[in-house]
């Protein structure tokens, strides 16, 4: 039986959920359901959507929102906070290392071929020192819970993790609709995130930049699924939201085309994949990107956040070694453990996986977004057999994990409060110093029993509270 975060074993409401329970009792399920409709209208009008063009139906969809907050106590958060910062620091140290001397490989801890033959490894980055030594400026760490004290990391996101706009908007909408709920509860605020992000980005401006560097957010454009978030962040930071066509490179400096003529750009928070930043370096066939951008970056004319090649640290094959990285670079004990993981690349472990596949969750090493995975206990015998064939054909492409007893959080049902599986993504900012707002995005699998929380597959979101106790 999964851990239900709202109550303890004797079905008594845990202290951190006391206020939420009182509120549910006071307002009533029926009235809450009516308010939920209101919330959806507001989301739609504001335009908090993700874009799905070319599939038919509504091209700009809402992510389902659940009204009941997910709550962490102050003590729980303090552990998470230390664990998240520790992990973000180790991941950045790892990226620096693999593009320099590769000490962790020389020490025999991480196998060299997992790094150097990895598609996410960019040889163009070898020997380059990004400002401040930071590669991943926004680290999103996906955390699950399996019990009262059991937090585990499911996945790291070192490139451009998305979803932070939901963290901010979910809180905003809860405060707008239920001010009374925040009157009596001390919920730690998250609204400093845009300021923290801007401060972080300014801190990593190139050494030659002026004292108040110009920061921009680079988006692929309105048809990108996360376009709303790109515009939202640019707006809250008060910086320009640019598309590749707005930028050009001249003598290793980056300029944006403005009504005043060209304006110098110092820091680019890019929400575009490595492959598409610069057709001269990465994808000659691509019409996207800014020709010469990578050259300007290497010459110190501009900072790209995250650094190209930062994805080497969030690869699923590398994930296994993060606890080792923490010991190796920081000489500390990992505060947040990994989910136990078998690598099919190793014959012994592969045999174990194939033997127990109907009990395991198997994933593609390079996959993301919940696609291309097998949830053994929920799959048919034929599906398991087909997946096993895929693993045998290319074992190095797969990993497997036990089916986790993911915790459940209270969700508003039609007639009652129900438990649904959740995960949690905090956003750790890394500049000259680290910043972490107390909160993050809670994703929830709204279908009963489902473990998949991805918005592309029917997941929803809810406000996440860290109590200031």
């Amino acid at each position: 039986m999964a851990f239900f975060e709202m109550t303890d074993q004797s079905a008594v409401v845990r202290p951190c959920y006391a206020e939420v329970q009182r509120w549910i009792d006071e307002v009533g399920i029926e009235r809450l359901n009516a308010r939920l409709k209101e919330a959806e209208t507001i989301f739609r009008r504001i335009g908090i959507t993700f874009a799905v063009y070319g599939e038919g139906g509504d091209p700009e969809r809402l992510i389902p929102f659940d009204l009941l907050p997910r709550v962490f106590s102050g003590a729980e958060w303090r552990t998470l906070d230390r664990g998240i910062r520790q992990r973000a620091q180790a991941l950045n140290a790892f990226i620096y290392d693999v593009y320099h001397r590769g000490e962790i490989i020389r020490a025999g801890i991480v196998p060299g071929e997992l790094v150097y033959r990895n598609r996410a490894f960019l040889p163009e980055m070898i020997g380059f020192d990004p400002p401040g030594g930071v590669y991943s400026h926004i680290v999103g760490i996906d955390i699950i819970r399996t019990g009262e004290g059991g937090f585990q990391v499911l996945e790291d996101n070192c490139r451009t993790p998305s979803g932070v706009s939901y963290m901010l908007e979910n809180r905003e909408i809860m405060q707008r609709m239920f001010p009374e709920l925040f009157g009596s509860t001390r919920v730690a605020p998250v609204d400093s995130y845009p300021n923290d992000l801007l401060a972080t980005l300014k801190e990593v401006a190139p050494p030659g930049a002026r004292s108040d560097p110009t920061v921009v957010v680079l988006t692929p454009g309105p048809f990108n699924s996360a376009y709303y978030e790109h515009s939202f962040l640019a707006d809250l930071m008060g910086v320009e939201l640019v598309e590749p066509m707005d930028l050009y490179v001249d003598e290793d400096k980056v300029w944006m085309k403005t009504t005043h003529g060209p304006k110098r750009v110092d820091v680019i928070y890019r929400r575009i994949d490595d492959d598409f930043i610069d057709p001269l370096t990465f994808r000659p066939d691509s019409m996207l990107g800014v020709p010469g951008l990578f050259g300007a970056y290497r010459a110190g004319g501009v900072t790209l956040c995250s650094a190209p090649g930062a994805g080497i640290a969030d690869d699923k094959a590398i994930y296994l070694f993060v606890p080792e990285m923490i010991r190796f670079y920081l000489s500390e004990t990992p505060i947040l453990e990994n989910v136990p993981t078998w690598r099919c690349a190793l014959p012994d472990e592969c045999a174990h996986v194939l033997e127990n596949l109907d009990q395991l969750v198997a994933k593609e090493v390079h996959g993301s977004g919940g696609y291309g995975m097998l949830i053994g206990p929920k799959a048919t015998r034929a599906e398991v057999a087909a997946y096993a064939d895929r693993i045998r054909a290319d074992p190095a492409d797969f990993i497997a994990q036990p089916t986790l007893d993911l915790s459940t959080a209270p969700v508003l049902g039609q007639k009652e409060i129900v438990g649904r599986h959740v995960d949690f993504r905090p956003y750790c900012l890394v500049g000259k110093r680290m910043r972490l707002v107390p909160g993050g995005l809670t994703r929830v699998a709204l279908t009963e029993g489902s473990l998949v929380v991805n918005s592309s597959q029917g997941g929803g979101v809810k406000d996440t509270w860290v109590l200031d106790d």
């Binding site: 335009g47 309105p222 376009y227 515009s231 707005d246 085309k257 009504t259």
Partner: protein, 311 residues
């Protein structure tokens, strides 16, 4: 500000104005067709001409309300339709979300797929409501601008786009309707002329303004022309619109420390409007004047694009 942003704002403002003007034209057409006498039935044809869609329906054929509703309200493939204008205004706004206030964006975004839900029959049944809805969207947007938008250059481009579109719509209406305003028809306002004149005023939301400015009484064509061309208080007059364009272009010139061809064109037009008397325009020919002003307006739009590096 990014040149692309300025360009998007400029066109967003134009499309919003165009959607509203087209809605008013449809309203005018409807008004005319319910008047007595067969002569007004051809009114839909002139609505098509004003919107530049004359070529879409064979000249031999009578234009019906159903044609207008399809072509000018619902048709997504006709770039001049209200639906196209509203979709493009929203798309322009969405591409520059950061340059809009939350309220401005909500005005563009609220119920943005509404027109998809109608076919010609159901749209005709609900025509008054739909026309009102279009006008309300435009008003809500302008209201959000009024009290929420920073008076920065984005605001200047927005105002210039809006004023330019309004000027153009007034000119296009005059271009199509000039013959009802010619001096020789001024003698006695027969039934037809009266209706024609008031229809022009209604299409530009100018009926009440006319009475206030000219102290009530009879309609006369040169007064109508005077109101729509030279009056400096009426917000859809050429004079007023160019005054606004000039003022915002000057603000941009000040902020940027440079002027361009657009500034010269706007000043020239303004000087001409200031020095003219209503009678002069009639003597030299209203139609020639209007056609020349249309050419200048189009040129100005191109010059603004050049001066501010639109692509």
């Amino acid at each position: 500000m990014l040149s692309r942003t300025a360009e998007n704002i400029f066109w967003m403002a134009r499309y919003i104005e165009r959607a509203e003007s087209t809605a008013r034209l449809i309203q005018m057409g409807q008004r005319m067709t319910i008047l007595p006498g067969p002569i007004h039935r051809e009114e839909w044809r002139s609505v098509l001409r004003v919107t530049g869609c004359d070529g879409l329906i064979d000249g031999d054929r009578a234009v019906a309300e159903a044609d207008i509703v399809q072509l000018l309200l619902l048709d997504e493939t006709n770039p001049s339709s209200i639906r196209s204008c509203m979709l493009r205004a929203r798309a322009n706004g969405r591409a520059v979300r950061t340059a809009l206030t939350q309220d401005m964006w909500e005005a563009l975004n609220d119920d943005w797929r509404r027109l998809e839900q109608y076919d010609v029959a159901s749209a005709r049944r609900n025509l008054a409501e739909l026309i009102d809805w279009v006008k309300t969207r435009a008003s809500t947007f302008r209201g959000a601008v009024e009290t929420g938008q920073l008076r920065n250059e984005g605001h200047d481009f927005l105002r210039i786009g809006g004023a330019l579109e309004r000027a153009e719509m007034t000119l296009r209406l005059l271009d199509v309707k000039y013959y009802v305003l010619l001096p020789e028809t001024a003698v006695v306002g027969g039934g037809r002329d009266h209706y024609q004149w008031t229809s022009v005023l209604h299409a530009l939301a100018a009926a009440r303004a006319y009475h206030h400015v000219y102290g009530g009484g009879d309609y006369s064509p040169w007064r109508i022309a005077d109101l729509l061309v030279l009056n400096q208080q009426f917000p859809r007059s050429l004079s007023f619109c160019f005054g606004q364009i000039g003022w915002h272009l000057d603000r941009l010139a000040q902020a940027h420390g440079r002027r361009g061809a657009a500034h010269d064109t706007a000043s020239m037009m303004l000087a001409e409007l200031r020095d003219r008397e209503g009678g002069e325009i009639f003597e030299e020919g209203l139609h020639e004047f209007v056609q020349n002003a249309l050419v200048v307006t189009n040129r100005l739009s191109r010059e603004i694009a050049q001066t501010y590096h639109f692509n």
